[in-house]
Every structure is written in C-alpha cells, then in structure tokens.
C-alpha cells in the first residue's frame, strides 16, 4: 500500500520535473539585472585555515564586483559534499554551484544534472578557457562536453626527506627520476638509515586513487576503456606489480596506510608521493626537524609521466536562466587570473592558467620567491585527466578497484591475478 502511493508520488514528481526541464535550460539570461542569490556548495569552507579564508575572500571579491549577485556559501567536508548536494536536491533545495571532487564527475553530469557549459555559455566558455593549461577543460569533460570547470587541483609530486637521503649516502639533489631508481634509493634508505624508503598515498582510506591512476597512466594504461574495466590489463597491472616489487624488495614502506602523512611528517619516511596541496603542511612539520625536498613524480624508464589531477571542479546545477547567468559569472570569476593568484599563493593549489606566472600583476613575484613549485608546474604540461567511473554503481566499482590494488601490493597473492579477479567481479556493476 505504502509502496504504491510512495512510488506514484515519486514518479509523478519525476514527470513534473522532466517536463519543465526542457524549457528551463533553454537560454541563459544575458545579464543579472535584479538582485539574485545563488548557493555555492564548497568543501574548502568546511575546514579551518587558509582554504576557508581564501574561499571567503574570493566570494567577497566576487560579490563586490557583481553587486546584484549574492552568494550563499554552504560548507561540507570533501567526502560528504556530494551527499549533501544530493540530499538537498532530494529535499527540493536549490543547488546552483557546487565544488565536487573529480571522482564524481560522471555522476554529477549524468545523474545530478550538471549543466553542460558549452550549451549554456557557448563561445564565452571558449574565450574563458583560452588561457587554461593544455588539458584544462578536458579535466571536467564527459563525452566531449564540459560539465565541471577545474577549480582547485594539484598533481602528485615526490616529497623527499633530504636528511634521510644524506644518511643513506644518497644525493638529495639527484632525486630518483625512474621507478628503478626509486627502488634503489628506497632500499638504501631502509638498509642504511633504518627508516622507510618510499610510500605513495594511493591506497586510501583517504581518497587516493589519483596517485594510483597517475602511476598506471604513466605506464601507458588506463583503468577503464569506455564501459569496460581495464585495470587488470597488461600495462595497468604491470604498474601495480612494480609497486609490489618495490614492496618485496623492501623499498616500499609497509605502514598504516591511513597515517602516511604522519609517518612522513615525523621524519620516518624518505620518499612520499602525494598531492602537492600538502606542501604547506609538510613544510611547517619539517621545520627544525628535517630538510624537505621536492621532485617530479618518477617515470617508467623513458616513458613520459602522466600526472593526474587531485582536487575538484565546480559544477552548475541552476535551472533558472538568471541564476544560470549568476552561477556562470561566479564560475568564471573563480577560475580567473585574479582568483588563481589568491588560490595559488594562499592555499597552494596549482594555477589553471599558466600565463599568470609571467605576469607581474599575478603570480610572477610568487614563483620567483617559491621556485620549488616549478617541479609541479612543469608536470602541468603533461596533465592527464583523472578517469572517473559512470553508472549508478560507480562508487562500488571504484571501491573494488582500490581494494584490489591495495591487496595486490600489500598481500601475498599474485598481483595480476588479484586484479583480474576483482575486475571480473566489478565488471557486472558497470553500465552497459
């Protein structure tokens, strides 16, 4: 009884909404002439410190420049922000702009109804994206359309404890460039300095698949091809087997995967591959304890690396033409030269616009005083979009993949077989 009624209501609600859908997204308003308020779901606001302050500063600057638009910021932790957006949509609240992590890209586009920016903004989007890094727009694209505008993001870099390098008789000015060299250096640190050699922040529980995907794609593989899972295939599995080899050789740390940052900060880890966004934090922890170094992510022999993006993009969900305009103006502002000057100098994320680095109005002075960021900025040229999963069960699939690759490295079974078994179990959960 309850069922029939409940579903009847649900279905009729769907009909009602899809009926209005076609008209609502027809045309974005030319400009905002009346005062309008838009909601902005943001995860930087849910943590204390520079990320929050910089975000509030950005919003204030935007409101000053656009007096007709008021932004209502809603903070939620990064692992909760999607649930919050979804819950609010279910509850009938207006969601206008949301900052979501890249793993949710396809879900946001296909299920949550993010607006395709080409359809909304057209040439304005092309003009705005002109100064982006080469694959800038591609980071937020699904099937050739841009749903998310890359916002605060970074790539994996290798953090180095230079003191441990010295203790192990290694030259921290010549950090390992390839995985072979990582293996040798890791073994040396483990044997001579008695500390952990190398660890990639790739295993979770914190969301680490971008590090894993960077390693896989640097070996020329991809975790899926279309709707066919491929993380157990040749190059992809070989990359994981390489990590296992480091583990078996004693070069890869066997530590509590949830405390890798602590292990590095306490001076017990020689090489740590993780998002450059933690640089500020690591610097303050290292101060007075050890000397911190920075290197690009290692390569598979001569193959160029394919660093992927961690972090987030901003999405537009507004249905109302005026709110769409307001949302679009906010999105443009948040990815402008001015915004990246604040984002990069204050929070430590990478600028989506490399032109800012040569411009004295923006980041020129900053990069000159902070040359260590260059290792990371060079990687932007080779930035390879993180691969998100689609379909209603995408999180389950991603979980299975992550668990399998962790077991392949830390467990005792053959890594290729472990991955193969997981891939076969997960494939039925992919969309057809």
């Amino acid at each position: 009884m309850i069922r029939r009624k409940f579903l009847a209501i649900a279905v009729s609600a769907c009909m009602a909404l899809s009926g209005t859908l076609g008209t609502a997204s027809a045309q974005m308003a030319e400009s905002v002439t009346e005062p309008v308020t838009i909601s902005f779901y943001n995860y930087n606001l849910a943590t204390a410190g520079i990320g929050r302050e910089a975000t509030l500063e950005l919003i204030a600057a935007f409101e000053k420049a656009n007096p007709m638009i008021k932004v209502e910021p809603i903070g939620a932790p990064s692992n909760e922000v999607l649930s919050r957006v979804q819950a609010d949509m279910v509850a009938g609240q207006d969601v206008d702009v949301a900052q979501l992590v890249f793993r949710d890209l396809i879900y946001a586009a296909e299920q949550l109804g993010a607006q395709p920016l080409e359809d909304i903004a057209g040439e304005d989007l092309t003009a705005h994206a002109a100064g982006f890094v080469p694959s800038g727009l591609a980071l937020g694209q699904v099937d050739g359309k841009t749903y998310g505008l890359a916002y605060v993001f970074s790539t994996p870099v290798m953090f180095i404890n230079r003191d441990l390098f010295h203790e192990a008789g290694l030259d921290p000015d010549q950090p390992p460039r390839t995985w072979e060299e990582v293996k040798a250096a890791g073994k040396a640190i483990a044997e001579k300095a008695g500390k952990h050699g190398f660890f990639p922040g790739a295993y979770g529980p914190t969301d680490g698949t971008f590090v894993y995907q960077s390693i896989v794609m640097s070996n020329g593989g991809k975790v899926r091809e279309g709707n066919i899972l491929a993380f157990a295939e040749k190059d992809q599995a070989d990359a994981v087997a390489m990590l296992r080899d480091l583990m078996d050789a004693g070069a890869h740390a066997r530590i509590d995967v949830g405390a890798h940052l602590d292990t590095f900060q306490s001076g017990n880890l020689g090489m740590f591959l993780y998002t450059s966004a933690v640089l500020n934090r690591l610097e303050s922890a290292a101060e007075g304890n050890f000397e911190l170094g920075l290197a690009p992510m290692p390569a598979f022999g001569e193959k160029p690396t394919a660093p992927t993006n961690s972090g987030s993009a901003i999405f537009m969900f507004s249905q109302d033409p005026v709110k769409q305009r307001a949302a679009w103006e906010l999105m443009k502002f948040l990815t402008s030269d001015e915004a990246y000057t604040i984002i990069t100098t204050k929070i430590g994320y990478l600028p989506l616009r490399l032109g800012t680095l040569d411009d004295p109005r923006y980041l020129k002075a900053w990069i000159e005083t902070n040359p260590k960021y260059r290792a990371n900025l060079e990687q932007l040229e080779r930035l390879t979009p993180n691969v998100a999963f689609g379909g209603p069960n995408y999180r389950q699939v991603e979980n299975m993949m992550k668990d399998a690759m962790t077991e392949a490295v830390f467990g005792t079974g053959d890594p290729h077989e472990v991955l193969r078994a997981a891939q076969e179990r997960a494939q039925p959960l992919m969309p057809n």
């Binding site: 809603i74 279910v90 914190t206 969301d207 602590d262 933690v278 303050s284 007075g288």
Partner: protein
Amino acid sequence: MTNNDRLTRLSAHAVMVALSALALFPVYWMVQTSFRPPNEIFSTSFWPSAPTLDNYRDVMAAMPILAILWNTFVMATATTLAQVATGLLAAWALVRWRFPGGRLAHSLIALSWLVPFQVVMIPNYVLATKLGLLDSLAGLVIPNAAAAFAVLVLYNAMRGFPREVVEAARMDGAGSLRTLLEVVIPNLRAPLASIAILCFISAWNDYFWPLLLIRKIENSVVQIGLQFFMTQEGNDWGLLMAAATLASLPILGIYLALQRQVVESFMKSGIR
C-alpha cells in the same frame, strides 16, 4: 587473616590505579599535544619543550568556538530533557497498565534502537527541510526527542518500584499523572540522573545528523567543529587537539562537578 586482607586491599588498589591510568593517559596525551608547536607534534616527550597557546588562539580565530560550545550545550540539554520526559511517560504507561497493544508498543520502542541511523538519514533530512528545521538547533533536537534506551531503562527502574506505594497513592485518590509526578519520580532520582548523563553524552557526541542538517558554522555544534581540522590533505594535529580539548572540557567539567552524584546514581540505579 589481616595480612590476607591487606594483600587483597593492596591488589585492589593496584588494579584500580592501573585502570585509571589507562583511562586517563590518552586524555592527557590529547591535552599536552594541544600545547605543542607544529614541528614538535610528533615528539614522544611527555611535555612540550616549548608549550604554546598558539593552537588555542588559532582555534578561536578559525571559528566562533564559544558560540559553538553554547549551541552544543543547549542542544544536548534540550535533547536530554526531551528524552527523559518522553521516556518517563512511556515507561510509566508500560509499567502502570496492562493493556491491549502494550506489548506491541513496548517492542516497537525497543526495536527502534536497532534501526541503523543511515537508513533513516535521507528521508529525515527531507522531512526536516520541509518542516523548516534546516540549520536550526530545533532540527537537531526534535528527531531525537525520544530514545528507546531511556524508555527501557526507566521501564526497568519503575518495575522495581514497590507496588504498595503506588497502590497507596491510588487509594488516596491520586490520578496516574499525579502518582507519577509525586510518588514515582522523586524516588527515581538515581536512575534519572544516570540516564540523563548518558543521554547528554550521546547528544554531545552526535556527529552525522548535525553534519547533514547544519549549514553555517555559527549554528554548528562542536563535533562538526572538530571536523574543521581534519582534511583529505592531512590533519592539523595541534589545532585538532586544542579543539578536542575544548570540546571535552565542558562535558568533563560537568562530569567532575557532578561526579559524586553521577557515580552514586550509577551505583544506586545499576542500569539494567
């Protein structure tokens, strides 16, 4: 014989000292870490070499922590009062009368304890939004205004209450409500106090529901405040420990102030 007694006494002291140390040490560690500068966080010394209040200053600067603590206090107090009140009434109904449907009501209340919160989270969020409870302390209290735990414990406490006294009150012409208020409740102080303190602790430590419902930091509660210092990019240990210390202080203070009564009430009521 006396030697034997002394030995028993001594070993009893030893056991309790060990247990107390085990209970307190992590709390001590939290407090002392909150006084450490960032580069000394991972030292294993027992006390920071250069204790600093910076972490507390930064916590205060990062969020209106006093307002947040006040919100939490109001929320936890209101939740506790509501749970105790609804619990008293329901338990009284179940103890005072045998009536058709009574067992069903009893089981419904008991089984509600086993419903995982996550199942009802989203529907409740939708309902709370419709009722205009979003971002309000009322929204934190109302869905938690009744707790199976409180009903069940009070039910057991009342069942142990001497029948004769209730009967006598009835003979005197007291209605059921008056009997509850004037005869039963005054004699239930101990279990009421212990239930209240447990309800208060669990409300104070509630996390998932406020996380969903509260949008502005100034309307927030302290468990959400703690989350402010934990990010995907690592935890801000000094700040987190300072905030955790601040979050624990009030409840610790209340507990210490009422400690004798709390412990006594547990001793007397022996929740069952």
